[in-house]
Subunit: 452 residues, 2 copies
């Protein structure tokens, strides 16, 4: 019984799949946060290099992956796909469970899939320095790695409370040569303003984004980089699903259901979009996004225009959102705590092509423990939401006495998240009530966008 | 330019290589710590199951790997071998550098290669529970994983200071279902004795071994497991070198020099022994063990009989040793802080088949940083000693203007060792003077073994 499905290096995809030309309808425009008019490429140029801006709106279905990017992808790609024989046995299910494993990257997650090309295009464009933000640290460490590989300077504004709580992620960034600044900082107007009001502010992702954006916008040599949500990020991540399609073929199976966790949408898009293309061509495949019940963007949010950040400095997109000033409870899957969702994913959910489900924190940890004890690999708390989804599908198959092929994305390992497991075992973790009032409150503050 | 050399699952070795029949001379006997006479299988039966005792002295060159073990090896094996193109470029060397990467196991190191078969043979033999010890936690977490896979209970005595300092390793063991007890504990006579003298004792590997051995020896359902030094451990690890031989063939190269770090000897033996067999058949290959300068067992120790543990409860073996009461300085490569060396490796060093070199702590971290910044992967502090050896060989090749093929073992990743990198970057780490007096002192206490 084969356990791993491994592609040779020469089967590494040579092109990313851009879903934009295959969307079920036209894309909504992105709106300038100041003028409330559609943004132009010139509006974005202080933040992003032109090749990235072009990709953001490209109508080209296949985008060549530059050789320089492939060279670095080869350090860990193609990534393995596994058949979870032991998990199936533990569940006593007739379902076949496959998982794509992205924890093999040097940073331990799928994030370098886009960090590497973002660094490459910036280098090519003449950028000397990248400013970005990070919460739990997965994205910051991936961007630090990518900048190191292309000889770019990198400054990461790290949410101050995480800077203290996640020292290992901070150390990884420093090892890869990045300058890590606890946010709010005195380096930016946005940071200083917060510190004046509250010198002990623990920071937030919203504040850190504002600092990184201000840093990039005010320095000629510097551009900004984002690890999720945007179209080009989703496109870069499609290497995951393109490889998985080949690996499912090796396995002689095709998934009935494809599952990934969903925060901003990047690992979800990465696995799902190539299968969404199959679905559009008539394949019978369900595609499921698993989000945390405490931050239920796709299941309880609205599909409307909203700011990408709390400080209302980032562009306005049409997306599923809980409102830009919704602050999710402090669950341990830090990477899934975002008020919005990738516009591309949102459009697919709105069109009924993608299903969304919410899972409580404890149920996701329960799934992670069962997975670790059967398959060995310790999953990141974010990825555990996908595992929960896969287990539930497999249990349903058992109940119905049906064969079913399940494929999910194990987006990262949990070696630097062991404190979350400690908290789970010690009984400190709890499920949060669905934050109905807070969501209603923040949904009352959506920007009014008309006539775009 | 190919970066990774990946074997299919059907190329996973089906047999381990046992070097005992190919040793340059007869093995010295193992001596009972009480009687000072050669041990018998019966002496060992309270500690180990019979199949392990038989492997310890087997004259069979090839030992079949049980199917049940192969099934679990497949979760991460065959492990990849890489060509370090970026490191070569950074060094501007004509040398070709290859590395075998063992950090892909669920525990992040080579240790499961022997933990899995040890758990299997114990299960087969009827053992219900394993007692073992761990210092930094690599071995304890691997044994916890292995016991989980075979449904054995697992108790790990973890050196108390590490229990506090390495919380992530402790959490991994708990996630995989092990009971982790800070040592010294009140669970054993050995532990209670220490606590009576010093209630705040930080513990030591020597004490933890004594506790685990006592636990196993006094409970009928329990056996003991050791993660290095012993013959069967070295044999199980040879999957590393056997795979690497096939992968070097894929690469169309053969190593001029094979390098691994050396603490107790297990990852070193794993990579080196299959190449030592090649060398015995006439191949021109150098084999180098890299040890820490602060615990220079192979380079400054003597080749003589000594106890395996500080408390003089473990069997006496002929090996390179710094004396059983030598306490190495607190370097961050915790896995290399052992006063002795595997008897099999010791015999090869004594016969001139294996070279040994010592490397100071700071030089090993310098190598680790260069490696992380060129190849991406963050190495464990132990493995960094091997990287230093490889870099030095490559720099020498550059100086001499020679082509040279270097192969080293990257025995584990450093994701749970980031505190050591922090200490390095903050300038807190130092090189220890060669502890000449301490070694002379402890060498004065070797047991007198005669007529065996």
């Amino acid at each position: 019984m084969q356990t791993k499905f491994i592609l040779d290096e020469d089967q590494l995809p040579r092109q990313w799949y851009n879903i934009i030309p295959d969307l079920p309808g036209p894309m909504a425009p992105v709106v300038h946060p100041g003028t409330l008019k559609p943004v132009t490429p010139d509006d974005l140029l202080p933040l992003f290099p032109m090749p990235i801006i072009e990709q953001e709106v490209s109508q080209q279905r296949w985008i060549d992956i530059p050789e320089e990017v492939l060279d670095i992808y080869r350090l860990w790609r193609p990534a393995p796909m596994y058949r979870a024989h032991r998990l199936e046995k533990a569940l006593d299910t007739p379902a076949k469970i496959y998982y794509k494993y992205e924890g093999v990257s040097p940073a331990g997650s799928h994030k370098p899939n886009t960090a590497i090309p973002q660094a490459f295009y910036n280098k090519q464009f003449g950028t000397k320095r990248i400013a970005t933000e990070t919460g739990a640290g997965q994205w910051g460490s991936s961007m630090a790695l990518a900048c190191q590989m292309f000889g770019l300077e990198c400054t990461v504004y790290m949410v101050k409370v995480s800077f203290g709580q996640k020292p290992y992620r901070k150390s990884m960034m420093q090892l890869w040569g990045a300058d890590v600044i606890p946010s709010p900082s005195d380096q930016t107007n946005a940071g200083r303003k917060i510190l004046e009001m509250d010198a002990d502010s623990p920071g937030s992702l919203g504040i850190a984004i504002s600092e990184a954006v201000e840093d990039a916008a005010t320095r000629e040599d510097t551009r900004y980089a984002l690890g999720s949500v945007l179209n080009h990020v989703c496109t870069h991540q499609t290497v995951i699903g393109l490889e998985a399609q080949k690996q499912m073929e090796m396995a002689g199976d095709y998934p009935d259901v494809v599952i990934a966790c969903h925060g901003g949408g990047s690992n979800f898009a990465g696995l799902a979009f190539p299968f969404a293309a199959d679905k559009a061509s008539g394949k019978d495949v369900r595609i499921v996004a698993m989000e945390p019940a405490s931050c239920p963007t796709l299941t309880k949010g609205v599909y409307d225009f909203d700011f990408g950040d709390t400080a209302k400095m980032a562009p306005i997109s049409k997306m599923y959102t809980l409102g830009h000033d919704f602050v999710p409870p402090g669950i341990h899957a830090g990477g899934l705590r975002y008020h919005g969702a990738a516009p591309l994913v949102s459009q697919l959910v709105d069109a009924g092509i993608v299903e969304a489900k919410a899972v409580p924190q404890l149920a996701s940890f329960e799934a992670a423990v069962l997975f670790s004890r059967s398959e060995g690999i310790i999953p990141a708390p974010e990825s555990s939401h996908a595992i929960r989804g896969a287990i539930d599908e497999a249990l349903q198959a058992k109940e119905e006495g049906k064969e079913k092929v399940v494929l999910f994305n194990l987006s990262g390992h949990g070696h630097v998240d062991m404190a979350a497991y400690d908290a789970y075992f010690s009984g400190e973790l709890e499920d949060y009530e669905y934050p109905e009032e807070a969501i209603a409150d923040s949904l009352a503050h959506l920007p009014k966008i008309e006539g775009v």
